[in-house]
């Protein structure tokens, strides 16, 4: 994985020193909160309901065990023994004292981590497919390009004060696991007919109060032009994005209001003017970065086949975990493992300090020291020999992280919601917990099949509800929590925004409503192979509306 060079080390060290000084001056009363707020936000420090919150970047979701162990250490030493992995492949600590944050950042810097650009109107952490480098279906590892974008966008003088925040995601496979069409820029790494690498470029995706699916403006951009083309997009946005209205300031609104053809031609014109001006990526630079992401030496482990067969017979729960949480690797003797942070009744994405340390040990021992954070708030071991799956599973059982529910209804994405977040209007975590408990039976979950349920506690949509097969949005209405349900959203290569199904439900009603939706789906699907999203796309909202509202006074 990527190792800091001297420049990175010096840059992060200098930033830690600078921000430590700013914190000291704030605590001493030498600068006001108004002066300090933008400085702390540039360093990932928010003020939430109960305390400060520190958001730490996990670039393209990639970690090594030393880094995960450090996150566990921070959780234990400075926080309350746990951390929260987010939908942007980052981690948040919910309780740090401002006075401890310089020490936390120094600890992070010692393992090549930081919290820079995890807030503010700049280019945020670039996200990528969590199976990058391991997936059997990818044309190339997208992370070298994500790293190139990270280096280019870090304290980029022109793009540090954009109209609004800016998110870029990269995938290297046809099957989009990075939700690229919900990002400001989505990049799909692919090969053209000549076998050359390049990108399909999408712009203007986003969620929040105005969800938009990104529009493809380029089917194939040669890899060497990545930075010049992104610069052109950012430049058009920086110049024309709506700075007059925070709610209309994202590039999705500019794309929508300008029209995709017009914005594409503006970007092309800008690009024409700058593409030969020094931003072309030399092949040697790409190769140098790629070398950092060179796959581990995966020696053949053909004994895995027999071992897996034997252990399947030996343990039903291991067998179920294999079916659900283990996916094919490009090397036939290996597999990629999803470590579910969605134990039944647990807060989605939370992990304790001891769990982080234990997972780090497992990664070090059995997974070439590599880990990923997925945007679905799980951890991933991208390279595990099939022969080692049983021992990894047993180790995960020991720390309560072997729930076999990846992609099932209890694998819920949820934002922190009103239990932590100062922007939230309703709680998310308790709703996720109750739904998880209602569908606790793995047999029932597997009968239901793939179902992406996503919950946000406010219109900002950090919980991705717009693109959940079932989405839940919590709002405050007349002093109470009210949960709106959307159906038919999706965040893969066929991205769609869900439709509101009807009037919302109280916190007491919402789990029953979800169960009713699920039962309706089970009753109308053509067979177990027809997923919820496919069935919904076939039949539309009518049967679900009928099931939820028929005969009720509040029927629309």
């Amino acid at each position: 994985m990527y190792r800091y060079d001297e420049f990175d080390h010096d840059f992060v060290k200098a930033r830690v020193a600078e921000f430590s000084d700013q914190v000291q001056r704030r605590l001493a009363g030498e600068i006001t909160e108004d002066q300090f707020r933008p400085l702390r936000l540039m360093n990932g420090v928010y003020l939430q309901l109960h305390a400060y919150m520190l958001r730490i970047a996990v670039p393209y979701g990639t970690l090594n065990s030393r880094q995960l162990r450090m996150l566990g250490h921070i959780a234990r030493k400075y926080d309350k023994g746990y951390g929260h992995f987010t939908t942007r492949q980052n981690i948040q600590f919910n309780w740090p004292a401002l006075s401890d944050i310089p020490a936390i950042l120094a600890d992070l810097a010692s393992v090549e981590m930081h919290a820079i650009q995890t807030s503010g109107n700049c280019i945020r952490n670039v996200t990528a497919d969590h199976f990058a480098g391991a997936a059997a279906d990818e044309v190339a590892d997208p992370r070298p390009y994500a790293e190139i974008l990270r280096q280019w966008s870090s304290v980029h003088p022109e793009f540090s004060y954009l109209p609004r925040k800016f998110k870029i995601a990269v995938t290297g496979a046809e099957r989009d696991r990075a939700a690229i069409q919900t990002h400001d820029i989505g990049l799909h790494l692919k090969k053209n007919a000549a076998g050359e690498l390049g990108f399909a470029v999408y712009v203007g995706g986003g969620q929040g109060r105005t969800p938009m699916v990104a529009k493809k403006i380029r089917d194939f951009l040669p890899e060497a032009d990545l930075l010049s083309y992104c610069t052109a997009i950012l430049r058009v946005y920086n110049l024309n994005g709506r700075r007059d209205n925070k709610y209309k300031a994202r590039i999705k609104i500019l794309v929508h209001e300008t029209g995709v053809e017009e914005i594409a031609s503006q970007i092309e014109a800008e690009w024409e003017a700058l593409k030969d001006a020094g931003l072309r990526l030399p092949e040697s630079d790409i190769h140098a970065i790629e070398a950092y992401f060179a796959p581990p030496a995966l020696t053949d482990r053909p004994e895995g086949d027999a071992a897996v067969k034997r252990d399947r017979l030996d343990s039903r729960s291991f067998s179920e975990w294999l079916d659900q949480n283990v996916v094919t690797h490009r090397h036939p003797d290996y597999a990629a493992v999803t470590i579910s942070l969605k134990g039944i009744g647990e807060a989605p994405g939370d992990a304790t300090a001891s769990q982080m340390e234990a997972v780090a040990d497992i990664a070090e021992k059995y997974a070439f020291d590599e880990l990923r954070v997925s945007h679905e708030q799980n951890l991933i071991l991208p390279h595990v020999a099939r022969a080692d799956l049983r021992v990894v599973y047993d180790a995960l059982v020991e720390i309560d992280l072997a729930t076999a529910n990846s992609n099932l209804i209890s694998d819920i994405i949820a934002c922190p919601g009103l239990d932590y977040c100062s922007l939230a209007t309703a709680r998310s975590i308790p709703v996720a917990q109750e739904i998880s408990r209602r569908f606790a039976s793995l047999e029932r979950q597997r009968e239901i099949g793939e179902l992406k349920l996503k919950i946000s506690g406010c219109i900002n949509a950090c919980g991705h509800h717009h693109v959940g097969h079932i989405g839940i949005l919590g709002v405050e209405k007349k002093g109470s929590e009210l949960y709106q349900v959307t159906l038919g959203g999706s965040a893969d290569e066929n991205t769609s925004v869900g439709e509101i199904i009807g009037p919302g439900f109280s916190s007491e009603e919402i789990t029953n409503a979800i169960e009713q939706i699920v039962e309706t789906y089970l009753g109308l699907r053509l067979g177990p192979s027809e997923r919820f999203i496919d069935a919904y796309r076939r039949v539309g909202p009518a049967p679900f509306k009928e099931a939820l509202y028929a005969g009720e006074a509040k029927a629309a």
């Binding site: 109960h50 309780w95 740090p96």
Partner: protein, 101 residues
């Protein structure tokens, strides 16, 4: 009826203004019921922010239940108690503090 709340600068701890100081629990917060009272608390809050004691100062609605100050909105109940999914965290984890929900 309103009380004055904020977060303490150094550690972010949620506090309420009570008896001339900033208390870590809401029970005994100073309540006001008229415009003049609100203005007095607002002035105290503005000074405490200017003195770098607290940040994010707000007046919030409360009621009195069995002689104890209780916030009206769920958001403020959660600030006063802690996350509703983790009773072991926040003020509710300390002795004799009410739970939010």
């Amino acid at each position: 009826m309103k009380v004055l709340t904020a977060n303490r600068l150094g550690d972010g701890e949620v506090v309420w203004y009570a008896n001339g100081a900033w208390a870590e629990t809401i029970e005994a917060a100073d309540t006001v019921a008229d415009k003049a009272g609100e203005e007095r608390l607002e002035a105290i809050g503005a000074k405490a922010a200017a003195d770098n004691l607290v940040v994010d100062v707000n007046l919030i609605d409360v009621t009195i239940v069995a002689g104890i100050v209780e916030p009206v909105r769920l958001r403020e109940k959660i600030r006063a108690a802690g996350p509703t999914n983790r009773n072991d965290l926040g003020k509710q984890a300390r002795p004799q503090t009410a739970k939010a929900a």
